[in-house]
């Protein structure tokens, strides 16, 4: 379990979950992103662990779930309300890729959830230590299939798929950035519109029945002389 001081007392703006078979390297993936380090001897995750990440003005809650079968029941619970999921498989392990479809896809919310397909331990197949078992084209196609909702909505979104290595760091930060950009920049549009509306309302209300001028951003600044 991660030693982590943070709690999600204040509601996070985005919840990201990591799912995938045991030992594909989910915990290492997060550790690389959060601490920029790699530990070859991580223990299997028990239940789930949790990280809070600040991205610009946003709080992102990242949940690392356990891949072992015995925690299967919990995973659905921890995946609930996720705005994005990292579906991790090991590039050199065919079975882990197939489990994404058979086991993990059903855990995730059907809509409004970006499903980022991530191949892990790229370094192993690059160095030739292990043989590639999943072709990137196949994984990309899988991503296209499961993200049809998102991809049809906005035409110019890149396909949510990365091949990564937590050992070298390749693709790790890019994965998260891509997620945050996809999920939070749309959010920020909403925010902007909502804020604007709020500020206008406030303006009207206050100026009607209060002698104190409203302090909103829409008020032009007086220049001093």
């Amino acid at each position: 379990m991660a030693e982590n001081q943070q709690t999600t007392k204040k509601k996070a703006d985005l919840k990201v979950v990591l799912v995938g078979s045991a030992d594909v390297g989910k915990t290492c993936f997060i550790t690389r992103y959060i601490n920029d380090s790699f530990d070859a001897n991580t223990a299997n995750t028990i239940g789930a662990s949790f990280f809070l990440k600040q991205w610009g003005p946003y709080n992102v809650a990242i949940w690392d779930t356990a891949g072992e079968e015995r925690f299967a029941g919990l995973s659905t619970f921890y995946c609930r309300d996720a705005g994005a999921a990292i579906m991790a498989y090991q590039i050199s392990d065919r079975h882990s890729f197939e489990e994404l479809r058979s086991r993990f896809l059903s855990l995730l919310p059907e809509s409004n959830c970006l499903k980022m397909v991530v191949g892990t331990k790229l370094d192993l197949v690059v160095s030739g230590e292990e043989k590639r078992a999943v072709h990137p084209q196949e994984a990309r196609q899988f991503s296209v299939d499961i993200n049809s909702e998102l991809l049809s909505q906005s035409g110019n979104v890149s396909i949510p798929f990365f091949e990564t290595s937590s050992k070298t760091g390749e693709g790790v930060a890019e994965t998260f950035e891509s997620i945050f950009e996809k999920c939070l920049s749309t959010l920020s549009d909403h925010y902007r519109i909502k804020k604007l509306r709020d500020s206008i309302q406030l303006h009207d209300e206050v100026s009607n029945d209060s002698p104190i001028p409203p302090k909103t951003e829409t008020r032009p600044k007086k220049s001093c002389c």
């Binding site: 379990m1 030693e3 001081q5 709690t7």
Partner: protein, 851 residues
Amino acid sequence: MSSKAFDLVSTLERSILLADIRGKHALPSANPVDIVCFDCCTKNLFIGTTNGFIIHYIIDERKTAERVIFKSHLQGKKAVAKKPLQLVKYVPTADQVIILVDGTICVFDTTRFDLSPSHERFKNVQTFCVNENKEGGSPFGQQVCIASRKRHIQLYNITAEKWIHIRDIGLPELPRIVSMDSSTVCVALQTKYVCVNVETSKLTELFAYDNEADTPFVKRVAPGEFFLGGPSDLGIFATVSGVSQRPPIQLKSGTFSLAFSSPYIVSLNSEFVVVYNALNQQQKQALQFQRGVSLQEQSDRVFVASAQDIYALVPVPWQKQVDGLLLEHKVEEALKLAEVSYRNSGLSQSQFNEINNVILQKAGFIEFSLYNFDEAGQYLKTGGVDLREVISLFPGLLSVDSQFTRSRPPLHDFADVNQITKGNLEKSEDCTAWLVRFLESVRCKMSEKKDVHTALMKLYAEKRPSDLLRLLQSGYQGHHSDTVDTLQTFGRFHALAVYYQQARELDKSFTIWSRLVNKEIEDESFDPLGLSYFSDVLCKTTDATLLLNYAPVVLEKDPVIGAQMFTKRFDSGIQDKRLNPESTIEFLTRFPEALTYYLEHLVLSANQQVESFHSHLAMVYLDNLFSAKQLNNKVLIESLRKKLQSFLRQSDKYSVSLILGRVERDDWLLPEAAILHGKAGNDSAALEILVNELKDYKGAESFCVNQSANKTTTIERQRLFETLLHLYLSKSKDNERMRVYVIDLLNNPKAVFNAAKVAELIPDDWSIALLSKFMLNSVRSSLHDGRQARIASQLAYWDYFLANKDYLSLRSTTISLTDNKRCESCHQLFKESAFVRQADGRVVHISCAKT
């Protein structure tokens, strides 16, 4: 393991319990009587036993300085069933204890201390719970949720009088455990956990568990949040909306009862009471505890019952816990703990901030003792430590005059830094270096300034003299005696002088600088500054007495630098009677070189047109010349003489008679005498000296040329040259060679002669050939002059003629002013007959002509 959060304190001893159950004289029974369940609320403790008794105690709590002591007072006991009681729940608002025994709920009336006959019994009950968060519920009633042995839960509102059935809610499986928070009941079903909203009957699934391998439990921990027994002994946090907001906690296997005392989760299994921190999910403390039955929280206490007796988990005073955490470097955790503790104790934000700061400071000192300087600095800084606390760790840095005493209670246990370094020199150097950095980086408060400055001064004096001056010159407020002693001890004399200077004790500081200049004392930081620095300081002083007292030090070392002190003052225009030029000159008389420099500055650079300065300068030049002569230094004499002569020639301000009086005493100063005679307008005396005494004919000629430039009329000029000619001629009687000079003089184009007079003067025996050139030139120039005069006269006449013509033509023209004639300036009509005709012929109003 982290420092402990709780102490286990006996609340109800076995012997007392047994005595109370059986009565004083009862024989030990064959079948043992054990506790199976209990509940506590305020001071009330209700116990359910294996033999169907309910026992009521009042628990008194006494706090001593060191610990908490509990005393139990039996209030009553009653056998309510033949079987063990499964669950008792005291509802103070209804004066009832709800008892579950053998699948049946019965209501026990605490006022009558017996089962309430008026209430119905509920059969086929699996378990029940009361609403732990009554928000929104009736203020009088208490909601109770009964989980039946069928697939539903039942909701009741209970008061002292009656139980009102609200509704039943169906479930997909049999309920096993229930817990209620506001309008949500969290239920452990046979295979999974669900949240049921009792208002909407909406069911939210949480997660599944293995009903064979896992022990389910449901514990409300916060408004809207439950803690549930998950797979593999994980404790899972879940909110009523069906998500988790905190990572799970790995519990000990077989955990079956829980309590929450913010921020701790206390768990019970068959062997241990284990405490976890809900904030970081880490185990905090584990206590051996055999035959545990259940946990109950009650304000900030957690009670734990074994089959035999009851204990309280009394929170270790949070300060103690904090100290423990700090010792383990868990600063964040310590701060969190303090925050939680204080939020619960309802103290104000400012009080909390104070506590927080003390913790940070303590943490800072601990980190410091481990040489984690960065952390130490950060904690101490954010904790707003009194800098003197830090300084006082370093022996000798705090002044004996300091008002400071260390904080009580102490922030750390160290007498001083040596106790930390244990004599390791390298380490203690590190500590000192850190202290310097730290003190430099923190803004000190008014109250600390004196001591912080003193400490920095001492540190700099010993290790970094280069920084001393900056400190001393920027509002330094250190203790006086410490400063003087330290700077003297380390030989920082220049700094000491600067210190005195800042303290307006100029006399002291000047004394030090004088001694430094005279090399009586040494300070390498002064060497590059040296004399010019001291002279600058002196120059700027406003106290003339001081300047005059210390100026000789500089003047003796370097007259020019010395004199510059005075010239700069003069230039800057500082008005001071004691240092006006006159008194300065008098003062500098002892330092001739400086005096010369000063006078030269006044006269030559500052262009002071004061007779006495000029005379004085001339005299000084003369004096210098005399002393050079005494030394017989030819080169010097030559240069001084040049200087003197050029001054005598250029200046018009000195008193000629005064200088002349001095010069005439010495024959070798005849050239100067000649200049002076010339100055006095006594041309013939000057020329006599030049011609007769010095035989300097060239000089004589150029004298005449120069002097003639000052004359206004030709007659005067002619007279001057005639004087020289006379002298020459009188000498030429016995000196043939003089004729050459005479001719040269006559032929000098700059000379002015009246040819007729010259012809008279020249002796008759001189050949005409000798004079031909002069004669020719004279005739030519006479002719030239005559013609020139005629031209001038003709031109003047022409001028007159032209003017006359203009006059006549103007007189002959007329200007007619008609009604429709307009002023050529304002373009208005003329209203009266008066007008002005301007030089260019324009006719305008009188008023327009004025503007």
